[in-house]
């Protein structure tokens, strides 16, 4: 008798537990995306448009509601890792998107790999996804590699018969990265680097560096900086009478740069994602439609001329998810380990997906998947971006 009651109780408990567990999975059936962006701190000018873009992405993918958990990592590596840990342990996310900058993204790789959660970074460095090893299996990224951009520059330099180039870049990972990438490809094209200078984002003057560059008599100067601080050397070069060609990197591709640099930036060349000149792309360009879609969405929400290429990296991350989630849903339910694994596999299988910055063709060895369609050369003309044909 006693044992019977005990048994009955046990069954009751079990049933209750199962019911609870079931309702829990039902609630978790939404696809949860953990997004960490650098909306404050030094990378804020990149992180803010990304954050704005997150508000524009679709609310449902393949009929499943998407729950987005958005956190700010203040451009800080430790905070980014903390956010990633919070995503996997507390929020039980299916995928992590972020972060904005390379150091933070590199540090988050461990968290993603350990918890077997796919991660899509919005930072540029090739080291985030290359080589695809046991940890980086889980990691994808949407921005072009610096190498892709620097080959575009050296190609343009060769065609313009530029032989002597001076480099001035940020004294941080971005400037160093570009210096190394550029030195590598410049050598292959027999371009001589005659000066190699650094400056700080917060510097109030680059007179010394600029004088040294001019004394080296280069045909062209490449400025390895991001955002409006990259205008400082350009203005100083013009002020000191430099007449050669000036190249910038895709890090300056937002309208604030044009505003700050003004007429001193006329005639500057830079490589950029096609989204920057979406309307000028030829009609047969596969990227044109997908890039225009983003530009229209963003400008409808934030006003004409507000779009920047950085926000498009966040957009592309969600485009990847939109393409990969349906395949993963066939295999498992969101909120489970199996779903995360299926999503990772599905991301690797994304083929011929036109997005704002190019066309994705992922493979087990390439977790970026962009080809030369992901970059165009752009010239600054009449205070606007002009596609160089």
């Amino acid at each position: 008798m006693n044992t019977g009651i005990d048994k009955g109780l046990k069954h009751g408990k079990l049933a209750a537990a199962m019911l609870l567990a079931f309702s829990a999975t039902a609630a978790l059936a939404d696809i949860t995306v953990g997004v960490t962006v650098s909306a404050t701190g030094p990378a804020a000018s990149l992180g803010i448009p990304e954050k704005n873009t997150i508000a524009l992405v679709p609310q449902t993918i393949a009929g499943q509601k998407v729950k987005i958990v958005l956190l700010d990592d203040a451009s800080d590596t430790t905070t980014a890792v903390k956010n990633a840990k919070k995503f996997v342990s507390e929020e039980k996310v299916d995928v992590i998107v972020g972060s904005t900058i390379t150091p933070a993204s590199l540090a988050m790789i461990d968290v993603a790999a350990e918890s077997e959660t796919p991660m899509i970074s919005m930072a540029a460095s090739r080291a985030i996804v290359d080589p695809v090893d046991a940890k980086r299996r889980w990691v994808y990224k949407t921005p072009q590699n610096d190498a892709q951009m620097s080959t575009a520059i050296t190609e343009h330099m060769s065609n313009a018969n530029v032989k002597r180039v001076a480099y001035i870049g940020f004294s941080d990972a971005y400037g160093e990265g570009w210096a190394n990438e550029f030195a590598g490809v410049a050598q292959a094209r027999k371009i001589e680097i005659v000066a190699n200078e650094r400056f700080n984002r917060a510097d109030t003057s680059v007179t010394g560096q600029v004088l040294k560059i001019i004394a080296a008599k280069p045909d062209a100067v490449l400025i390895g900086g991001a955002g409006t601080p990259a205008a400082l050397p350009q203005k100083a070069l013009k002020e000191k009478g430099f007449k050669g060609v000036i190249y910038q990197t895709h890090g300056v591709a937002n309208n604030d740069f044009l505003r700050v640099c003004g007429k001193d930036c006329e005639g500057t060349f830079l490589p950029a994602g096609p989204v920057l000149v979406a309307d000028q792309l030829p009609a047969d360009n596969p990227v044109k439609k997908s890039a225009q879609e983003y530009v229209q969405k963003y400008e409808a929400a934030h006003g004409k001329g507000s779009v920047s290429t950085f926000g498009a990296h966040a957009w592309d991350a969600f485009k990847l998810l939109e393409a990969a989630v349906p395949a993963a849903l066939k295999k498992a339910k969101p909120g489970t380990k199996e779903f995360r694994a299926a999503l990772r596999d599905a991301l690797e299988g994304v083929q011929n997906l036109p997005v704002a910055h190019g066309v994705f063709n992922m493979s087990p060895t390439d977790h970026l998947g962009f080809d030369q369609r992901a970059r165009v050369m752009v010239k600054i003309e009449n205070g606007g971006w002009k596609l160089v044909k």
């Binding site: 030094p42 200078e197 010394g208 601080p229 002020e239 505003r259 700050v260």
Partner: protein, 345 residues
């Protein structure tokens, strides 16, 4: 490096050094009078420049809301104290200074197209908005703990700095701005071309330094500040209010900071967080002056400017390292030559 490059670098160093010197003077002033190491000094540089840029773009600068809000808090705090002590006489003046003037400014700015005003009017408006933040910050953050040890004041300074940086991002966004030069063009002087803006910076810095000298030497308020700096207790016994002295020194620091920002924003792009590094370099200058000597602080700041300029030519990647390493031999030399007394702590 030929003679012309040396001259150009010297000119650059002198320009930056002049700004660092102004900030160093403000830091020495604030420290001498209130014992506060005023880390947020640099924020006033950024606030001044960005507020001016907002006015020139025809926008209402968000610093205006900050003045109104801080003013309201000051009135609430001071008003409560005055009510408790039944000192109604103090109310009108307090209301007028902390709430009346900001609200008047707001009404003015809401009805005037600031983009079309003359530069002088824009600068005056900018100073009217930014400078009151100085004494208000003193009232709210430092006055309640005016007698605390230097270390606690320093910690509060760090907190105020972090808050102001965060608000700066909120107010002005992450992107920087440049304002047009006071007067375009340049002056040919033999081998060197001097930008007019450079001349403006040098002239106005020199004028400000002279004005400060006259203020401390000739006016009653200046002498009161000096007395407080020399001996707080003694000054109080002589009837000098240390609260007044603190507010006055913060007003001057805010004025110098905001004006420095206005001066350099035509020659460089300023961001919500640029002020910190500029202020830090002024601080290195102030340290060379031992945080007590004005002429030594100014000279030290000029040295920082020159060092920065020449090192940016020779070893641009190590520029900041060189500038901030300067502080080590200076501290060594000071600790060896001065006899330190532990009366403060």
């Amino acid at each position: 490096m030929d003679f012309q490059i040396a001259l150009l670098l010297g000119q650059d160093g002198l320009t930056n050094g002049a700004i660092y010197a102004l900030l160093a003077l403000a830091l020495v002033l604030v420290f001498a009078v209130t014992r506060v190491i005023f880390i947020p000094q640099g924020e006033f540089v950024a606030y001044g420049a960005l507020t001016l840029a907002a006015l020139q773009a025809g926008k209402l600068p968000a610093t205006l809301w900050m003045v109104v809000a801080l003013g309201a808090v000051v009135v609430a705090v001071d008003g409560a104290i005055a009510l408790r002590h039944g000192a109604m006489r103090r109310l009108p003046r307090m209301l007028a200074l902390n709430l009346g003037i900001p609200l008047l400014l707001w009404a003015l700015l809401a009805h005037v197209e600031t983009a079309g005003l003359s530069l002088i009017a824009q600068i005056a408006l900018t100073l009217c908005i930014v400078v009151p933040l100085g004494p208000m910050l003193y009232r709210l953050a430092y006055q309640p703990i005016a007698e605390a040890p230097v270390l606690i004041l320093l910690i509060v300074s760090v907190a105020v700095h972090v808050v102001l940086i965060g608000l700066g991002l909120l107010f002005f966004g992450a992107e920087g701005t440049r304002t047009p030069a006071f007067s375009e063009g340049s002056l040919e002087l033999g081998a060197v071309t001097l930008q007019y803006q450079t001349l403006w910076i040098l002239a106005i810095s020199a004028l400000l330094i002279l004005a400060l000298y006259a203020f401390f030497g000739r006016t009653l308020y200046g002498k009161a500040l000096r007395a407080t700096a020399l001996n707080r207790t003694g000054a109080r016994l002589m009837g000098i209010s240390t609260t007044m002295a603190g507010k006055l020194s913060f007003t001057l620091a805010a004025l110098i900071g905001a004006f420095s920002g206005i001066l350099i924003s035509p020659i460089t792009t300023l961001y919500y967080d640029s002020g910190f590094l500029i202020g830090l370099k002024g601080f290195v200058g102030a340290i060379i002056g031992g945080l007590v000597s004005y002429p030594l602080a100014a000279a030290g700041a000029l040295l920082v400017g020159f060092l920065e300029s020449y090192s940016s030519f020779w070893a641009s990647a190590y520029k900041e390292v060189i500038v901030f390493t300067l502080i080590i031999p200076v501290l060594l030399w000071r600790s060896l030559t001065s006899h330190h007394s532990e009366e403060e702590e």
